[in-house]
């Protein structure tokens, strides 16, 4: 009896030391992705320097995040041809992490930041596992997209997508566990990473409402007892803290707490009807008589539509907290301009997870998507390094 018990205990002990597949998978895919893209870089440029490779990968906003980590926020705007840009548009949390890595390890901002992004992406993938409800094929597709998909460079250089997806996944896992206060604290970090992090406050309320209904409560009952839900009150109050800290800093630095909004004029962004913006973006190339190719504007418009359609799928599946977060995560940037919509959609964790869950339902589609994504990853890398607006 004792022997059997000891054997079971030992077996249980051995099992706990096993690293589960969902942890190893993103690590392996990350390493394969790194190796593949480096090989493509060497093949196309003939350069072997790994630092040169990381530098080549660091285009557009990557430079802004690197400079932000290096020098902090700039003074009077003077950038771009119009002389009206500076780095106030970039939220601080990611660059603070890069700066911390630099201070601890002594690695350059570029190298340290690139490693940090890769590890944040791995962490994001692991964190998101509970959101897949044990559907490993969908999880595999999601990880494959992150590390070997057509937008893998966002997840291997200095961009905020990896951190934002990590925080989003963590937030929704915490909501699933009904830990609203911790989810609110995660939301605070989200709003210090990107302005769309604010939307997580709505997700918290919606998740709480759905939990209430799932527990047999009524709609009226939820609103009647809402005033007593101090945990929800605190959770929602926590979310804007990140963006508020940034606003205070900007007020002290520039005199304008909303400088991160106002400076967007340099990027041609101004609040307007998002659907009108989408309409204008979609028809622009056809107005110019281009019926043969997909222009950047059309690509951005299609990305926005895909993001909204997947938000619809989330709502259809009953995941209203994901749906509202994702829908407004698309509409908010779209209301200022359609520019960079590809990146904004790819940076929405629930959109990627829902797409993975959807496409992994059919085995044939799953096996078709893997090589397709791999080929796009290889083909688009030189385009990205060549600073294509298309992929921005």
């Amino acid at each position: 009896m004792d022997e059997t018990f000891a054997r079971e205990k030992a077996a249980a002990h051995r099992w706990t030391w096993r690293i589960p597949g969902y942890v190893l998978l993103p690590f392996y895919l990350m390493l394969i992705g790194l190796g593949l893209r480096y090989a493509v870089y060497v093949r196309t440029t003939g350069h072997w320097g790994f630092n040169d490779y990381l530098r080549a990968l660091c285009v557009y906003d990557c430079n802004a995040y690197e400079r932000l980590a290096l020098n902090g926020y700039e003074g009077r705007p003077s950038g771009f041809d119009k002389g009206d840009a500076n780095n106030w548009a970039f939220f601080p949390f990611y660059s603070i992490l890069v700066w911390v890595v630099n201070k601890i390890t002594g690695l350059s901002m570029l190298v340290g930041g690139s490693i940090l992004t890769c590890l944040l992406t791995v962490w994001a993938a692991i964190m998101s596992w509970p959101l897949f409800d044990n559907r490993f094929r969908a999880y595999f597709l999601f990880c494959f997209f992150l590390f070997l998909g057509p937008f893998s460079y966002y997840f291997s250089t200095l961009y905020t997508e990896a951190l934002f997806i990590l925080l989003t996944a963590s937030g929704f896992v915490l909501l699933k566990q009904r830990d609203y206060v911790a989810a609110g604290a995660t939301g605070a970090l989200m709003s210090a990473t990107r302005s769309t992090g604010l939307l997580f406050a709505a997700a918290i309320l919606i998740a709480a409402f759905q939990h209430h209904l799932r527990d047999g409560g009524t709609v009226g009952g939820f609103f009647r007892t809402l005033w007593r839900r101090t945990d929800l009150l605190l959770a929602v109050a926590l979310v804007p803290i990140g963006i508020c800290c940034f606003a205070i800093y900007l007020w002290l630095h520039s005199g304008d707490a909303l400088a991160f909004v106002h400076i967007q004029r340099a990027w041609g962004r101004a609040f307007a009807d998002p659907f009108n913006n989408l309409y204008l973006t979609m028809k622009l190339q056809f107005d110019n008589g281009n019926y043969s190719t997909i222009s950047t504007d059309l690509a951005f418009g299609l990305a926005a539509i895909a993001g909204m359609a997947l938000s619809g799928v989330m709502a259809w599946k009953g995941r209203w907290d994901w749906a509202i977060f994702s829908l407004f995560g698309v509409l908010l940037p779209l209301s200022t301009n359609a520019y960079s919509m590809l990146r904004f959609v790819v940076g929405l964790g629930p959109v990627l997870i829902t797409a993975a869950l959807l496409f992994a339902r059919w085995k044939w589609l799953f096996y078709l998507l893997l090589p397709a994504m791999l080929i796009l990853d290889v083909l688009l890398l030189p385009t990205w390094i060549g600073r294509s607006y298309y992929l921005m």
């Binding site: 945990d231 508020c244 205070i248 004029r265």
Partner: protein, 242 residues
């Protein structure tokens, strides 16, 4: 039946602290402490450009070249607001106007403003008029009916040249503003589409010096109209509109 939730005091205390914090942030949002040029461009959007920090230095009488390979004074010291950096097509205006700002000691004389310009228009489009405004006073109008170059030549009376006041070093400030027309409705960036004026070269010369050099008679391509030059000398370069 959903579980009964018991409110927690520490939650409320934390929320109260956050509310105070939010009130401070709200104050900061409502009361920005910014310079007028920042407020006009970024907050109220009443200005169409944000001024650069420049010295305004200009050797009076020297030609300024805005095209890299040409002769002339090349330092980028007078391009103040609404003009993009020098390029092979000169400096291009954006927004409703472009302003050059010179900080220079002025002689007791009127000035002659000459410049080379062209615009992104053609003969199929309606006439586009560009007002030339110095220190807030209109000194002439350019009529662009095609993509052809227009060599502007305008007299700036001494009284107008001195309207800009003086800087801290005692130099006179001369702001030359080119007001361009709107040519299309705003796009998704809410900025109106405007005529893009391109300046390739510019010169501000004391009138006497210009007369001595024969600059007034030398060029017959003056395209200004409607300027009130009542204080200008009889030997004005202004030619009536063709």
């Amino acid at each position: 039946m959903p579980p009964l939730y018991r409110p927690r005091a520490w939650h409320l205390i934390a929320v109260a602290c956050i509310a105070v914090f939010d009130a401070v942030v709200l104050y900061m949002v409502l009361f920005p402490q910014v310079a007028p040029d920042y407020r006009a461009y970024y907050i109220t959007r009443t200005a169409s450009c944000f001024p650069r920090i420049i010295s305004g230095f200009y050797p009076l009488g020297e030609p300024v070249s805005f095209v890299p390979d040409r002769n002339g004074y090349k330092l980028d010291t007078i391009r103040w607001c609404g003009f993009m950096p020098p390029s092979s097509t000169g400096i291009r205006s954006f927004g409703d106007y472009g302003i050059l700002r010179m900080q220079v000691p002025l002689p007791d004389d009127d000035l002659l403003l000459t410049f080379e310009s062209w615009a992104n228009t053609d003969s199929s489009k309606p006439e586009r008029d560009v007002d030339v405004v110095v220190n807030g006073e209109n000194v002439g109008t350019l009529e662009f009916t095609s993509s052809a170059r227009i060599n502007g030549k305008m007299i700036i009376p001494q009284t107008i040249a001195r309207l800009g006041g003086k800087d801290s070093h005692g130099n006179d400030i001369v702001e030359i503003k080119f007001v361009v027309p709107r040519t299309g409705p705003p796009g998704t960036n809410s900025e109106p589409v405007t005529l893009q004026l391109r300046l390739e070269a510019l010169r501000l010369t004391p009138l006497k010096q210009a007369v001595d050099a024969g600059a007034l008679e030398a060029d017959d391509t003056v395209q200004s109209k409607g300027a009130d030059l009542s204080s200008a000398p009889a030997k004005s370069a202004k030619k009536p509109k063709a």
